[in-house]
């Protein structure tokens, strides 16, 4: 079969006025670099699973995109990551997903590890996913440690662009404060444990 690949870096209300030409070029450069990486792997006979997850891990390392380093903030000023992988391997559907990750540098690699090891290591609860499809939160992060994946503090995922989006959207008292540096952001990591500056329902659209 002829190898094929397609990638996306997000969709939404992207218009020319809010994405000037120099930013467009930055995105295209990143997209083409990442596409070439994946295509080169496929052309060299690498599996679709390896090519797709390796390609997405490059997105996760690129601060332009909403995943990994560069992911958006939640209401409480934290970052929670999600990832999934699925393979069309005949009638037995093979997929794995992870969510509510706060420290895994490359969530897609954790999803892949769970996919690959899900039916193994049943004797070791700490290392085996026991065939579960979707694992979240601290248990998923424990599995990441068991698989030897790289963990990072929340501050690693911080980018100024996302922090400003967070503040604009939140329209809370934080919106009037100076944008903190990455160093200063580390001091905010405990924000999740504080009283959230919102009532929990204002996000929901009418209806």
């Amino acid at each position: 079969f002829e190898p094929r690949i397609i990638i996306h870096g997000g969709a939404g209300n992207i218009t020319r006025p809010n994405l000037p030409p120099n930013r467009q070029e930055s995105y295209k450069t990143s997209l083409l670099r990442i596409l070439k990486h994946g295509n080169d792997l496929l052309q060299n006979g690498v599996s679709a699973l390896e090519a797709a997850t390796s390609t997405v891990s490059l997105f996760e390392d690129d601060p332009l995109f909403n995943c990994g380093h560069g992911a958006v903030f939640n209401r409480a000023g934290g970052i929670e990551l999600e990832a999934s992988v699925m393979v069309s391997s005949g009638y037995k559907k093979s997929c794995a997903a992870v969510s509510l990750l706060r420290h895994v540098k490359n969530p897609i690699l954790l999803a892949r590890n769970i996919l690959e090891h899900g039916e193994q290591d049943l004797e070791e609860a700490s290392a085996g996913a026991q065939g579960h499809v979707h694992i979240s939160g601290p248990t998923a992060e424990d599995l990441a440690k068991a698989y030897g994946l790289e963990l990072k503090p929340q501050s690693y995922f911080w980018t100024r662009k996302r922090w400003e989006e967070h503040k604009r959207g939140l329209q809370s008292k934080l919106a009037n404060e100076k944008v903190p540096s990455c160093e200063e952001f580390r001091g905010l990591e405990g924000l999740d444990d504080q009283e959230p500056p919102w009532d929990g329902f204002e996000y929901l659209p009418q209806g």
Partner: protein, 242 residues
């Protein structure tokens, strides 16, 4: 959200998706990216349109041939199931020669696809977007689990559309995702998004995408082997020196 759909030399297709979710989401909110069928899907089934793939080597699909006879009786029920279960009607073009399935086919082949979505995740969840698109393009697989409940009286031809058409129906302008936003469309961000995918029918592979939003960051190798990149709707450009 980011995603990659890749098809390798063995014909396997994989989808991988990763995200930080929605800006200012509530802590603990889970979106479509890790939810099976909503933000991602991959599947392989039996290709039933035997007349279109005379050149396919049946030896390439030994497993397919063995189950082909089992599938033959079920295909008769696809139109009613599809039209009853789906929120919009499907065409019934193609697959017009299924009576031949009562005999052993000479050219069985497989049909595989994988999808990755991006956009307003809550909307993807509400319509189970990727699985819905996959079901449109892979009706035989959709019915396999229903086999015990089916009667065998209807001999109507099978319904089936390409993944490209399925994505248009789900993620394209005016499609299922947009409809799910109702009168909140274009005001709250609900319903906005796009889906990328790869479909393989026999030896033919198609790289597809569609979106109802103004833009989607994307790049791909098209069926002619050209490297393409695009951001806004309809601005896909050929990259001459990738």
């Amino acid at each position: 959200t980011v995603g990659c759909v890749a098809a390798d030399v063995h014909g396997v297709i994989c989808t991988a998706t990763s995200t930080g979710g929605l800006t200012n989401k509530l802590p603990g909110r889970i979106g479509d990216t890790p939810t099976v069928g909503a933000g991602f899907w991959a599947e392989e089934g039996i290709l039933l349109n035997i007349d279109e793939f005379d050149s396919v080597d049946s030896a390439m699909f030994p497993a397919t041939e063995s189950v082909y006879g089992t599938l033959a009786p079920i295909v008769a029920f696809l139109p009613s199931v599809l039209t009853d279960c789906l929120p919009f009607s499907t065409t019934t073009k193609g697959y017009q020669h299924l009576t031949a399935l009562t005999e052993k086919p000479t050219v069985p082949a497989t049909h595989a696809l994988a999808l990755s979505g991006t956009g307003n995740g809550d909307s993807f969840l509400r319509v189970s977007a990727c699985r819905t698109a996959g079901a449109l393009a892979l009706p035989p697989q959709a019915l396999m689990s229903m086999l015990p409940k089916m009667s065998l009286s209807d001999k109507t031809a099978v319904s089936g559309i390409t993944l490209r058409a399925a994505l248009k129906a789900v993620a394209g302008p005016g499609g299922l995702l947009q409809q799910s936003a109702g009168d909140r469309w274009n005001r709250t961000g609900e319903g906005e998004g796009g889906i990328i995918g790869i479909e393989r029918r026999g030896k033919d592979t198609d790289v597809v995408f569609d979106m109802n939003s103004s833009g989607m960051f994307r790049a791909y190798i098209d069926s002619s082997g050209r490297t393409m990149v695009g951001i806004f709707r309809g601005d896909d450009e050929v990259v001459h020196n990738p």
